[in-house]
Amino acid sequence: MRPLDEKETTAVFEKLFKFVGNNLKNIVENPSHEGPDPNPGRYCFRLHKNKIYYASESLVKRATNVARPNLVSLGTCIGKYTHGGNFHLTVQALNLLAANAKHKVWLKPQSEMSFLYGNHVLKSALGRITENIAPGDGVVVFSMADVPLGFGVAAKSTQDCRKLDPNGIVVLHQADVGEYLRMEDEL
């Protein structure tokens, strides 16, 4: 487990910025409530076995007791590095993203299951959509009951969505909670 170096930090922050925008500040500087210490430290990012973890400092301090081959997870995993060196956010980051998301999309009840199977979001599935989405922005997908279902990348801007035919793709799927059941091994 080690802190992130420059390159890695920029990669992570870029990805996060797509989803949360200026709320990134929130993420980084949030006083944490974890840890048994009376003074909550802040959150920090650590890299361990190609995965990035977001945990409070007290947790990190205590995790140093655990040897490298034996440490499995720490706080919340938010993403991982692929073989090629690219950073991808995983579904475990959903809680963090959903709390701070800038762009949101709400799905109709009938179309929830389709998204949870890993399909892209079609226009016909859209219930609500926040304004001012640009193509390529990170979007967090919710159900009508405000339950976060996953996230993805916007394919079209909000304006274009209105003109789109019902089978057009609005949000490109990146991660969804169905992966906990479908792809437990790959998380």
């Binding site: 409530h33 974890e34 840890g35 048994p36 009376p38 945990a55 409070s56 007290s58 947790l59 205590r62 995790a63 007791n65 655990v66 040897a67 081959p69 034996n70 440490l71 499995v72 997870s73 720490l74 706080g75 919340t76 995993c77 579904v91 475990q92 809680n95 929830e112 299951m113 949870l116 159900s143 009951a145 339950v147 976060p148 279902l149 909670v177 169905g178 906990y180 059941l181 437990e184 091994d185 998380l187």
Partner: protein, 638 residues
């Protein structure tokens, strides 16, 4: 006339009842014929003869128990009765007719008198007949009853062998099991003579093994723990699955809201019980309960009701340090984190690598962020995390799984005594490690909860008893009052009386999987083992001194025995001197005995140790003097 008819009718009835009446009548005839010989009135005797002969003749003619013939005889006899004169002429045989004629000529008065006598005899005969009928009926009844209870007798060796050859007859087995349980419940009254309780129990075990598919070891263990009727209830309960339960994730939602959402989806559920505020039990569901969007979003966790119990007993507070030593798949760990509201820190440890994935996945799904997951053998954890470092420990120990047979039928056949012993050994090591990790001086904690999903005493009470002896801990109430208290004694074992604060749960009583929960509080970090080292050192000192003495006395012992044994044997000698009441058989045997009883005796000997110290000093002085004497001798020998 009427009496005659009556008697004749009775006669016919008698005839319809075959042999006994015949015998009776023959007897009567035999009885009467001497009378007949000696009788005064010819007419009477003749009448009697006639009538008896008639009866006899009729018996011969008619044979046994023919109603038609009986009715014919009735008619004929009626005819005779009505008009004796007429019928006499109409009668068939000459002899009879002559006799009857002569008899009838004598007059009806005399006939009536003889009829009366005959009537009495006949009524006697009839009464005897009836009595015999009743006796026969009773005898048959008795026979029937005996047959039924004899039907339940233990099968003999031959019958068993026959059964083994044939394919198993399930209904027969089932019937026999029920019968044996019935007999065992009222043994004195219902047992078969010559067979002991043990025979019945052995047969019951075999039948249950073949009917339900258990192996002998497991059935033997269960039979030792439960009376026969409860045993059957338990086994039947193991055949059926327990209801599916789920636990609301209080980090994300409330039970009421979750119940509403699930009911909308078409799930039929209810709150679990009054002892849980987060549990829900699912009766049936139109959608797969493990694949709803709410499940995937981490609103609830599928968990058996028994898994709630150790965490409820642990009751972790906010901002505490908690360790879960065998965490996968994470149901209890997530519950702990939810109770702590994501504050504090949880170490979730799991030894097996394949199970780690599900553990981490569940933690992330449920939104738990205060957990560190590590992959160690639980026994190494105190070295990693430090001794006296955490506030609470939850140890849901790996066990034989005899309480969850309803989930996993292979346990019925795969567990043996070695498995139990291995499990128990591992559990004892783990519980000591757990106790070592806890900080006894923690402000809010200092608790260890030990739980297993097994009902075997060797894995539950025996392990806790071991922990009580080896560490400075005590049992406290778990807070789960609806369970059954644990065993304080079991067969030849005797446990510490505070073990009644532990709790056992059974499927047939609580409708949960078989479970055991115990809550310990650590009083201090002292180990009774450490205390032992002081007196043992003293003993060794003394024994070393005594060695020199004994060298003179018994040089052979020194050669045979190694350090410890000799020291113990000599310590036994010192005990001999101070406590002459203790019987001593042989030095070697005692040496071995002391090695086992040593720790206990040493603890007791703490107090007299001062005396031993003074004695030791005296012996030291003696030894010194002898050494001085020896010294010059040895030098001369060399």
């Amino acid at each position: 006339m009427a009496p005659a008819i009556a008697t004749k009718k009775k006669v016919s009835k008698k005839q319809s009842n075959a042999k006994p009446p015949k015998k009776a009548m023959k007897k009567n005839s035999k009885v009467l014929t001497p009378k007949h010989d000696s009788s005064a009135s010819e007419s009477e005797s003749e009448e009697e003869i006639l009538q008896q002969q008639q009866l006899e003749h009729k018996d011969e003619l008619l044979g046994d128990s023919d109603v038609d013939l009986g009715s014919e005889s009735e008619l004929s006899s009626d005819g005779e009765g009505d008009d004796p004169l007429v019928d006499d002429f109409l009668q068939g045989t000459d002899d009879e007719a002559e006799e009857k004629g002569s008899a009838s000529n004598s007059g009806s008065d005399l006939g009536e008198d003889s009829d009366d006598d005959d009537i009495e005899k006949k009524s006697r005969i009839i009464d005897e007949k009836r009595k015999k009928e009743e006796e026969d009926a009773e005898a048959e009844m008795q026979l029937n009853i005996k047959e039924e209870s004899d039907e339940f007798r233990l099968p003999t060796q031959e019958e068993l062998e026959e059964e083994n050859l044939r394919p198993p007859d399930l209904s027969n087995l089932q019937r026999r099991i029920k019968e044996i349980v019935r007999v065992l419940s009222n043994f004195k009254a219902l047992k078969q003579e010559g067979s002991t309780r043990k025979d019945y129990v052995e047969q019951l075990k075999k039948d249950i093994c073949s009917y339900y598919g258990y192996n002998e070891f497991l059935i033997g263990a269960l039979v030792e723990m439960f009376p026969a009727v409860e045993l059957m209830e338990l086994i039947e309960a193991f055949e059926k699955p327990r209801p599916i339960c789920l636990r609301t994730n209080t980090l994300k939602t409330r039970r009421r809201d979750l119940a509403d959402v699930l009911i909308n989806r078409g799930v039929n559920l209810d709150p679990l019980s009054k002892w849980s505020k987060v549990g829900l039990v699912v009766y049936d569901s139109q959608v797969p309960i493990g694949a709803t969007p709410e499940y995937m979003a981490g609103f609830y966790m599928l968990q058996s009701a028994s898994s709630f119990l150790p965490v409820m007993a642990l009751a972790p507070q906010e901002k505490e340090r908690v360790v879960d030593m065998a965490a996968a798949p994470g149901g209890k760990t997530t519950y702990v984190a939810a109770l702590m509201k994501n504050t504090g820190i949880v170490f979730a440890n799991e030894m097996k690598v394949p199970r780690l994935k599900s553990l981490t996945a569940n933690l992330h799904r449920m939104g738990v962020s205060n957990t560190i997951v590590c992959n160690y053998d639980g026994r190494e954890l105190p070295k990693v995390l430090g001794v006296n470092a955490v506030d609470r420990v939850l140890l849901d120990a790996p066990c034989s799984g005899t309480g969850v047979i309803s989930k996993d039928e292979s346990v019925k056949t795969s567990k043996s005594l070695e498995d139990m012993q291995k499990c128990a050994h591992l559990q004892k090591e783990l519980i000591l490690a757990a106790i070592d990790m806890v900080d006894a001086n923690s402000k809010s904690g200092g608790y260890i909860v030990y739980s297993t999903c097994s009902i075997m005493v060797a894995e539950n009470e025996a392990v806790i008893d071991y922990a009580l002896k080896r560490r400075d801990v005590k049992l406290v109430p778990c807070g789960l009052d609806f369970g059954r208290p644990g065993f304080i004694r079991f067969r030849e074992q005797r446990f510490h009386p505070s073990l009644e604060k532990t709790r056992r749960f059974y499927p047939h009583v609580h409708n949960m999987d078989g479970f055991f929960v115990a809550k310990l509080k650590k009083m201090s970090s002292r180990k009774p083992g450490e205390k032992q080292s002081e007196p043992s050192e003293k003993v060794e000192e003394e024994s070393k001194l005594e060695k020199e003495e004994s060298e003179e006395e018994k040089p052979s012992n020194e050669v045979r025995e190694n350090g410890k044994e000799s020291s113990e044997s000599q310590s036994k000698k010192t005990k001999k001197r101070k406590f002459p009441s203790k019987p001593v058989n042989g030095v070697k045997e005692n040496g071995k005995e002391t090695s086992e009883s040593g720790p206990i005796k040493r603890q007791k000997r703490k107090y007299p140790s001062k005396q031993e110290i003074s004695n030791a000093r005296e012996e030291k002085r003696r030894a010194m003097r002898e050494n001085k004497k020896k010294g010059p001798k040895k030098q001369s020998q060399k």
